[in-house]
């Protein structure tokens, strides 16, 4: 599955996008992450992947694109989200901002950050804290030259949380397309509903 429909480049990503994507099964997960990383590497940007099975993703990425070992970085979900062993919105946002600043300071033009979120369910992270952070990311993302994509497993998240996902991401990946999310709520509006 491609992140961009053939001949529909107008729907491609734009810097500052915070995209949510829903998937069924690890095969689709790995394909989405690999396509995202491939696009980043082709643009010679920095790509960081919060995934627990990096090899399944790496084998889907053309090896010739990985020119610099630092350009593609795999980080376990727990390390990416649960700094200190537990989730903290403030720490997460702070780390995220530090990361993008660090990438830019090392000469990259943009950061492509993609992450699976199974650890949220697996580690019983407070949904309100998590989605508060997601809402904050939507305000953080446009401030830096970066693309952020969050992946949600439909087997793990129930309907209520799916609605929260839709309300906290500015764009949604659906049916192979990245489109503007009509169900997005600005951070303050969303937080007022929690």
């Amino acid at each position: 599955m491609s992140l961009t429909a053939p001949g529909r480049h107008d729907l491609d990503l734009h810097t500052g996008d915070h995209v949510c994507a829903f998937y069924n099964g690890s095969d689709l997960l790995n394909n989405i992450v690999a396509d995202f990383a491939t696009k980043a590497l082709r643009a010679k940007d920095k790509c960081i992947c919060f995934v627990d099975e990096p090899s399944a993703v790496a084998e889907r990425i053309p090896a010739e694109l990985v020119l610099d070992e630092n350009s593609l970085q795999f980080v376990p979900e727990e390390e990416g989200y649960l700094s200190g062993g537990h989730f903290s919105k403030e720490a997460f946002i702070s780390n995220l901002e530090a990361t993008v600043q660090g990438v830019l300071s090392r000469g990259y033009d943009r950061l492509w950050l993609v992450g699976d979120t199974t650890v949220v369910v697996r580690s019983s992270v407070d949904p309100k804290a998590w989605f508060a952070a997601e809402a904050e990311v939507s305000t953080l993302a446009p401030r830096y030259p970066q693309f952020i994509m969050c992946l949600y497993n439909l087997d793990l998240y129930d309907g209520e949380l799916v609605m929260y996902v839709l309300q906290t991401h500015t764009k949604v990946f659906v049916n192979g397309l990245i489109i503007n999310n009509p169900y997005y709520l600005p951070k303050d509006q969303f937080l007022s509903r929690l």
């Binding site: 829903f22 069924n24 099964g25 439909l154 087997d155 129930d158 309907g159 209520e160 949380l161 799916v162 609605m163 839709l166 309300q167 949604v172 659906v174 049916n175 999310n181 009509p182 169900y183 709520l185 509006q189 007022s192 509903r193 929690l194």
Partner: protein, 676 residues
């Protein structure tokens, strides 16, 4: 859970409620967008029911079926199912435990079942909430229908894909099978070697073709030689049995094996060596096809072998008939020979019963054949005191004991029909290879010779030799006595007279002359005595002048006139001596006992033997007894040189002694002289 924030005024509340309702509606449509991505009805319904509390706070969502539970729905409680079964649009329900409950139909048009999304809680639903839930329920129905369609299409596509795969595989298999068929059919004329080689080319695996006993008849691909392959132990019948029962390849001893058996007794086994068990369906198909080809090949070989056997059988029948004719002729000749034999021939079986006797047997044992056939041989010809030993010996031999009398000459005592016994020489042989032996019986044949006469001759010879020794001793004693009493005394007297004459030669010449004359006379008498003695031992005339002159000299000293008729030629020395002494003793007897007026001697060569006759015209009546008239001594002397003597001596008819002496170095007579 979305919680409400309380507004301060009614207008603000209305605006806030409107915004909240708009946001909720927005979220429901967003959820609907995601629900449409659900991969299963269960996932879709779970997303919806878990979203219900967010859509309508305080409410729960359930999926019910009127009559049963399923993978994404539960069976509705009693009393509710009937209402759900008739459900066509959102309907209010009465559910125990809940103040309010609504049912929204989510039935898939494909299933035709009345599954419903039931939302229940303490508060009633607003119209907008009911609308949103109704939309979600209908969306779920559509998603379920889509998933079922997609699932059906996917399943169909998979089936088509599988069928295409099978079809492609089948086509490949058919092509390969045709190739196998063509190749294996082409090599039929090249026999088992060709089958093994072709099957190896088709499969790449080593191939071994063996028969029912495991003997390898052909190999190909890394295996060499013929015979029993190592590692193929017994249990072959079990393997053949398994192959017969299987009707297809059997994996055994690191090989796939199939059976080719056009007839129960004709068995071939093809082994495709596959220790890693990687042979595929095509390999096994080729193996089975090869078994079919081998089946045809074995049937062909069997037919050829049967035809050859029939030809061989006919040929063997002809040969057997020819052999039977030859055997019958041989047996007839053998029977004729046996019948003509001088020895008695008798056959007996392993029970000791007589099965055959020849004519000589009848003559010797005084039986007729029909009197002895079928009787125990021991009772017929074996004396009672030997029967137990005879029976024991036969039993011991038949039990595998050593043969003590077979195939050698033994002397036994036999018994005639009248009970009289006689010495016999017997040779017994076991006749091998006869029809009787093949039938499990054994036959023994005895060749029996009556040796009564031989025993008697042997006895006579022994007695004769004893008499010769005795006569020789007597002659030696006589010579000794004659020398002592005659010649020796003359010589001693001669010596004394010569010594006396020497002593008195000067003093008494006359006496010396008388003594000398006496010595000369004694010496002459001594010489005469010596001549007489020597003549008794070996006459000088015989040595110097031959038989005729010696007999003349002998006759000249006898008081009876003797007419001599002998060959003038010299005879062999041994014959001359024998004839001379025979004649000397015979003529001495004439002088002593015959009171004859004349005698005659005749020597003649007849049929290779010297015949010597000494006759007289005396009183006759002489008897051939060793103690009577010296005739026995004559017989012994003649017997000593292999001859025989006859006597004819009727009372008052004179006596004629006739000696027949075998000629050795005989001389042809050049004439005969007769002297009175």
């Amino acid at each position: 859970m979305i919680s409400a924030a309380g507004p301060s005024s009614a207008m603000e509340d209305a605006e806030l409620a409107a915004r909240r309702g708009l946001a909720t509606a927005n979220s429901v449509f967003g959820l609907a967008l995601i629900v449409m991505q659900a991969r299963s009805p269960g996932q879709a319904m779970r997303l919806v029911t878990t979203a219900v509390p967010a859509i309508v706070p305080g409410q729960i969502g359930i999926v019910w079926h009127p009559s049963r539970s399923g993978d994404y729905f539960e069976r509705a409680p009693e009393g509710v199912g009937e209402a759900l079964a008739m459900l066509a649009e959102p309907t209010k329900l009465v559910v125990e435990g809940f103040a309010h409950a609504w049912a929204f139909p989510v039935t898939s048009p494909l299933r035709g079942e009345a599954v419903a999304l039931v939302v229940a809680g303490a508060q009633p639903l607003s119209e907008e909430e009911s609308f949103l839930l109704s939309v979600l329920a209908q969306l779920c129905g559509t998603v379920i229908a889509k998933l079922e369609l997609v699932g059906s299409e996917l399943a169909h596509a998979r089936r088509v894909e599988a069928l295409n795969g099978e079809l492609e595989s089948t086509v490949l298999m058919l092509r390969r099978t045709m190739e196998i068929h063509h190749k294996l059919t082409e090599i039929v004329p090249s026999g088992e070697e060709g089958i093994a080689r072709t099957l190896h080319e088709l499969t790449g695996a080593p191939i071994i073709i063996s028969d029912g006993t495991g003997y390898v008849r052909a190999r190909a691909g890394g295996v060499r030689g013929h015979g029993q392959p190592p590692g193929w132990p017994g249990g072959r019948p079990d393997l053949i049995g398994r192959l017969r029962a299987q009707h297809g390849p059997v994996y055994h001893d690191e090989s796939w094996m199939v059976l080719a058996s056009p007839r129960p007794e004709v068995v071939g086994v093809i082994a495709l060596v596959d220790p890693t068990r990687t042979a595929g369906d095509l390999d096994r198909a080729a193996l089975e096809h090869a078994a079919t080809v081998l089946n045809v090949e074995l049937a062909r070989q069997y037919s050829v072998a049967q035809a050859e056997l029939r030809v061989d059988a006919a040929r063997e029948r002809d040969v057997a008939q020819e052999r039977a004719a030859v055997l019958a002729a041989s047996e007839a000749r053998q029977r004729a020979i046996l019948e003509a034999a001088l020895d008695a021939v008798v056959s007996m079986d392993s029970r000791g019963q007589v099965t055959y006797v020849n004519s000589a047997f009848e003559e010797i044992f005084k039986y007729r054949a029909e009197e002895v056939l079928g009787r125990e041989l021991a009772e017929v010809i074996v004396p009672p005191f030997l029967r137990a030993a005879h029976r024991a010996g036969l039993a011991r031999y038949l039990a595998g004991g050593p043969a003590r009398v077979l195939d050698r000459r033994v002397e036994i005592t036999a018994m005639r029909s009248d009970g009289s016994q006689f010495p016999a020489e017997v040779t017994v042989t076991e006749v091998a290879g006869t029809a009787a032996a093949l039938a499990g019986s054994r036959t023994f044949t005895g060749y029996i010779r009556d040796i009564t006469e031989r025993r008697r001759a042997q006895q006579d010879l022994m007695e004769s030799r004893a008499r010769l020794v005795s006569a020789s001793d007597a002659a030696r004693r006589r010579v000794t006595r004659d020398l002592h009493d005659g010649a020796q005394q003359r010589l001693v007297t001669t010596l004394i007279n010569l010594q006396l004459a020497e002593q008195r030669w000067d003093s008494a010449p006359e006496r010396a002359r008388e003594l000398l004359e006496q010595a000369i006379s004694d010496a002459k008498r001594g010489i005469e005595d010596l001549r007489e003695i020597v003549a008794g031992i070996h006459p000088a005339a015989l040595t110097e002048h031959g038989l005729s002159a010696a007999l003349d000299a002998l006759a000249s000293r006898l008081p009876v006139p003797v007419r001599i008729e002998v060959p003038s030629a010299r005879l062999p020395p041994s014959v001359e001596v024998s004839v001379y002494f025979f004649c000397s003793e015979a003529l001495t007897n004439v002088v002593k006992h015959a009171r004859a007026g004349s005698a005659w001697v005749k020597v003649d060569l007849r049929a290779g033997d010297w015949v010597v006759e000494v006759g007289d015209d005396g009183v006759g009546g002489a008897e051939a007894r060793s103690e009577a008239g010296g005739l026995t001594g004559l017989r012994d002397r003649v017997g000593a040189v292999g001859g025989k003597m006859e006597i004819s001596s009727p009372a008052r008819g004179g006596t004629v002694l006739r000696a027949t002496i075998p000629s050795s170095g005989k001389a042809a007579p050049r004439g005969a002289v007769t002297r009175e």
